[in-house]
């Protein structure tokens, strides 16, 4: 298989909030690579540092230490303005709360990222992106005239409209019922099949299971977990080997393979099952 170029390369990335005694180490020397075309789920309970990781991956925040190369470019030292450019042109965001502007119609919302760069044919591009998520008949609707699932599809269209190199979805189904969740996940899987690079952040193993590769985060440390194990899927209790002990300062016994490519068939030993038993759905809003 041809090695795809890396879209995301994290090298010993740490993020610390506060100073001294009260310092919170949200990320501890994280290493991770996501290659073009991959569909990676980052799974972890609340407080695990996955939001921090998401902010850094999305160039919404910069690491305290370490390097983050986005498509080969080191963004950890970029200025606010350059980061805004990266977010605008190269990353598409999908948020749990949708974050649509409620007084703007669907297509105006989708058009939004295009306003921040000089580009022609914004309306056509917005309409095309809406068609891609099956909302060609809802372009003039305001967000509150759409169902939750439809709103999230508008948000996905907004993320796609700039044709970004990375689609970053933060709990995209967190506010949706089962039917709408399936709809959104279906769209993400389809986008994956058409070659998009997607990073999905969730706390729900069922959602993570739609990804091609799962990375688990706990206490600010990553564990490469390829696919969920059969044991996990059948609801077996988690293996003790699998969960990295808390407050470990050393890297886990199995460092994340930097070159994990699409579809890694053999899970490394001790694939971490999710920290909680399965639940049918993501957490209530």
């Amino acid at each position: 298989m041809i090695e795809q170029r890396a879209v995301i390369e994290l090298e010993n990335v740490s993020k610390t909030y506060g100073f001294g005694e009260t310092a919170v180490h949200a990320l501890r020397a994280v290493n991770m690579t996501v290659r073009q075309g991959e569909f990676v789920a980052i799974i972890g309970p609340s407080g695990s540092g996955k939001s921090t990781l998401m902010n850094i991956l999305g160039c919404l925040d910069i690491p305290t230490w370490g390097h983050y190369r986005f498509a080969g470019e080191d963004v950890s030292k970029m200025t606010d303005s350059d980061l805004a450019g990266v977010r605008n042109e190269r990353i598409g965001f999908v948020f749990q709360q949708f974050h649509l502007l409620k007084r703007m119609s669907a297509w105006r919302n989708v058009e939004l990222p295009l306003l921040y760069r000089r580009v022609r044919g914004r309306r056509e591009r917005a309409l095309r992106a809406l068609a891609q998520v099956g909302l060609e008949n809802r372009v003039h609707h305001l967000p509150n005239e759409l169902s939750g699932g439809q709103q999230q599809r508008v948000a996905i269209a907004r993320a796609l409209v700039t044709d970004p190199e990375l689609l970053l979805a933060d709990e995209p189904t967190g506010n949706l019922d089962t039917g709408s969740s399936a709809e959104i996940l279906g769209i993400l899987e389809q986008l994956h099949l058409s070659g998009r690079t997607i990073v999905l952040i969730t706390h729900d193993p069922d959602i993570a299971a739609h990804a091609q590769r799962v990375v688990s985060i706990r206490d600010g440390e990553l564990t490469e977990g390829a696919h969920l194990t059969v044991a996990h899927l059948s609801g077996e209790p988690m293996s003790t080997v699998a969960t990295p002990p808390r407050r470990r300062t050393r890297r886990p016994a199995t460092p994340p393979p930097a070159d994990t490519t699409a579809g890694g068939e053999t899970p490394p030993e001790g694939a971490p099952p999710p920290p909680r038993p399965r639940r049918p759905r993501s957490r209530p809003e």
Partner: protein, 410 residues
């Protein structure tokens, strides 16, 4: 983001939040309109007062008995002692002594009852000489003024103001008719031109008779030598100064007074009255402008509150825009356009409302209000500055937030 895009985004946002936009614009509107209206009322009052005083004749010099210059010595108040005489007036009338005076008119005055047929009327009666018309800047609309011969012969003739004539003979020509003033019959020679009321007296409602006749027959206990006032007129405004000194010197001389501070008369020119009136109405305008300034300030605080609230409730929007690639400048420009648009709408409507109120006030009430472009401009600038400052500063703070924090504030 291009300028056009910034503008379009800002305008769309203004249009999307109609209630908020309306309230913001309303605050500015009221402030600007208040400034325009109050300053307009002040200016109008000043103009109407000075206008009426100028109608009296700006070149008029009035000499009244009594002194207002004394310090520390008990002196008779203004007008209490009649030290002015007909001889003083005659002396002033000599062009070789006072070359800068074109007319001199000694004056006595009283309020008298007039009867003509079944009509009767009460009005001031003035006794004077032929110089009265020139000194008071008046003309005749019908008939003629009395002559010097009438004055020397104690003639029973009178000239009436238009209002007086109308009251005595409604709808009729008064010339040649006889009016009985304090039971003394006078033949009407003509009517004076109309100059309009001056508020404190009405020059269209009076009778003017020869000085001698008035002194001997109308003023009770009247003396044939003293007069109540002497009016004099300079040919031009520039001649008022020299004329003033000529009058002053001559009267000091004829009254045998060596020091000007002991003078037993007071000279008043229209200029001194005008400058007094100017300072009074100036203070009035300033007071009104102060009131307007306060209303502008209150309006500004309203605008500030609405802007602060609206920016605060839109922090999430700012966060989202930043997450989607908006730079700090993009956010600032968007809010600047929004604030400027609201300020401009409020300002323009405020000028419109101010104009409308100024017009309505002038046409529906006795008040005069003038539109003052500088006041309108000042009001506009201040209102716009308040709107923009309080729209942009909170936005600037929000734009500085990390996008993710701003997003979470939703």
């Amino acid at each position: 983001m291009s300028f056009y895009q910034t503008l379009a985004t800002g305008l769309r946002s203004v249009g999307a939040q109609r209630m908020r936009s309306l309230l913001t614009a309303l605050g500015i509107l009221i402030g600007v309109a208040a400034v325009i209206l109050t300053v307009g009322i002040g200016l109008g009052a000043r103009q109407s007062i000075t206008g009426r005083i100028q109608a009296l004749g700006t070149n008029l010099i009035t000499v009244t008995p009594g002194s207002t210059t004394g310090v520390g010595v008990v002196r008779a108040g203004l007008g209490a002692a009649s030290t002015l005489t007909v001889a003083d007036a005659s002396a002033l009338n000599d062009p070789s002594v006072a070359p800068d005076l074109i007319a001199v008119a000694p004056v006595v005055q009283r309020v008298a009852s007039m009867v003509a047929g079944s009509q009767n009327w009460t009005a001031p009666v003035t006794g004077s000489t032929v110089g009265w018309m020139v000194a008071n800047n008046r003309t005749m609309i019908t008939g003629s003024f009395f002559t010097a011969a009438d004055v020397s012969e104690h003639a029973h003739v009178a000239v009436l103001g238009a209002t007086t004539a109308q009251k005595l003979w409604p709808g009729q020509d008064p010339i040649g008719r006889v009016v009985s003033i304090q039971h003394v019959p006078f033949k009407v020679l003509g009517t004076l031109n109309v100059v309009g009321s001056q508020g404190f007296n009405n020059p269209d409602d009076q009778a003017v008779v020869p000085l001698t006749t008035a002194q001997s027959e109308l003023i009770a206990g009247g003396s044939l030598t003293t007069v109540q006032r002497i009016l004099a007129s300079a040919p031009t405004r520039e001649a008022i100064g020299p004329a003033y000194y000529e009058v002053d010197n001559l009267l000091l001389q004829t009254h045998h007074i060596s020091s000007p501070s002991d003078a037993d008369f007071t000279i008043t020119t229209q200029e001194t009255i005008l400058s007094t009136v100017d300072s009074v109405t100036g203070a009035l305008t300033l007071l009104l402008a102060g009131v307007a300034g306060i209303s502008l300030l209150v309006g500004g605080i309203g605008v500030m509150n609405i802007m602060l609230v609206s920016v605060t409730e839109r922090i999430a929007e700012i966060g989202l825009r930043k997450a989607l690639g908006a730079r700090r400048g993009d956010i600032l420009r968007q809010f600047l356009v929004e604030a400027a648009t609201l300020s401009a709408i409020g300002g323009v409507l405020g000028v419109g409302l101010g104009l409308l109120c100024t017009f309505l006030l002038s046409s529906l009430t006795p008040l005069t209000a003038l539109f003052s472009p500088p006041a309108a401009l000042l009001g506009l600038v201040i209102a716009a500055a308040i709107g923009v400052a309080f729209g942009v500063f909170p936005a600037m703070r929000a734009a500085r937030l990390a996008p993710i924090e701003a997003l979470r504030s939703a």
